[in-house]
């Protein structure tokens, strides 16, 4: 549960900042405009922030599902498959999200 609590506290901080960026610092229409998002990604601090948000939220979310599934049923094979599935889901989704961040930061505009 320590992972769940640590990522929960981190997620509250990071999601709050994300929401503030989307609706307080800039008007929403500006926040989602292509040029603004590009400048956010290409600011080193925000790129690292978005990557941290991605990892924290996905670890928290999939670990939460793992906890729910383990409540439903307890057996060694079930636990093994649920743990393996959780790790795999985190790796795949974090990889896909990281690809977006890397391409947005380093990719050439189409």
């Amino acid at each position: 549960m320590l992972v769940q609590y640590a990522t929960a506290v981190a997620a509250v901080a990071l999601v709050s900042l994300h929401l503030i960026m989307q609706g307080v610092i800039y008007p929403y229409a500006t926040a989602i405009s292509f040029n603004n998002i590009l400048s956010v990604y290409r600011n080193g601090f925000y790129a690292v922030f978005l990557e941290a948000l991605l990892v924290v939220v996905l670890v928290h979310g999939f670990n939460g599902v793992r906890i729910i599934l383990k409540e439903f049923r307890q057996s060694k094979p079930w636990t093994m498959w649920v743990d393996a599935g959780t790790v795999l889901a985190i790796i795949v989704t974090v990889a896909y999200g990281t690809r977006t961040v890397i391409l947005a930061v380093f990719g050439g505009t189409a």
């Binding site: 549960m1 609590y5 929960a8 506290v9 997620a11 509250v12 999601v15 929401l19 989307q22 609706g23 008007p27 929403y28 229409a29 989602i32 292509f34 998002i37 590009l38 990604y41 991605l54 939220v57 996905l58 979310g61 999939f62 939460g64 599902v65 729910i68 439903f72 049923r73 989704t93 896909y96 999200g97 690809r99 977006t100 391409l103 947005a104 380093f106 990719g107 050439g108 505009t109 189409a110």
Partner: protein, 156 residues
């Protein structure tokens, strides 16, 4: 209660979540924490998909104004904004109720347990827990109203 009956009761799965018999506020909060958690994860997965269109989608190679415009044409409308308002509502509830759960886990908002007496209310649950549940609901509603104003101000 017979052992088999008790085991069956403990194996009700999601049906067990949704059985409101003898629920108190904390038990409802448990149910909503689970439901909102799964809903937020589904939203996050969808959000991963839609933000990837900033770089042209799954086969893209870099920032693409045309792909971003395309995905915006699908989600930037009243229905999409309604979904975002619901997301803000459940995220704020989930976050604040989650803080309550962490505080309870470390014993900060629990009373000392004592002997069970009629009317069999759980004495270990402090008033602080109920207050935090109501705070979570109130803040979530205020945040949803804020999201409504932010999202719909430019649509008229």
């Amino acid at each position: 209660m017979a052992v088999g009956e008790e085991r069956a009761k403990n194996r009700r799965g999601i049906r067990g979540w949704l059985d409101p018999y003898h629920y108190n506020a904390e038990r409802w909060a448990y149910l909503f924490q689970r439901v909102t958690g799964v809903a937020i994860l589904l939203y996050v997965l969808g959000h991963l998909g839609d933000t990837s269109f900033f770089v042209g989608g799954p086969t893209g190679t870099g920032p693409s104004p045309s792909a971003w415009k395309f995905i915006g044409s699908i989600f930037e409308n009243s229905f999409g904004h309604l979904i975002l308002i619901l997301v803000v509502l459940v995220v704020f509830f989930h976050g604040i109720n989650g803080i309550r759960l962490i505080l309870a886990e470390f014993g900060l908002i629990l009373r000392k347990p004592s002997a069970i007496e009629y009317p069999y209310k759980p004495k270990g649950l402090g008033q602080g827990q109920k207050i935090l549940i109501y705070v979570a609901i109130a803040v979530a509603v205020v945040a949803a109203v804020w999201a409504f104003l932010v999202l719909f101000e430019g649509m008229g």
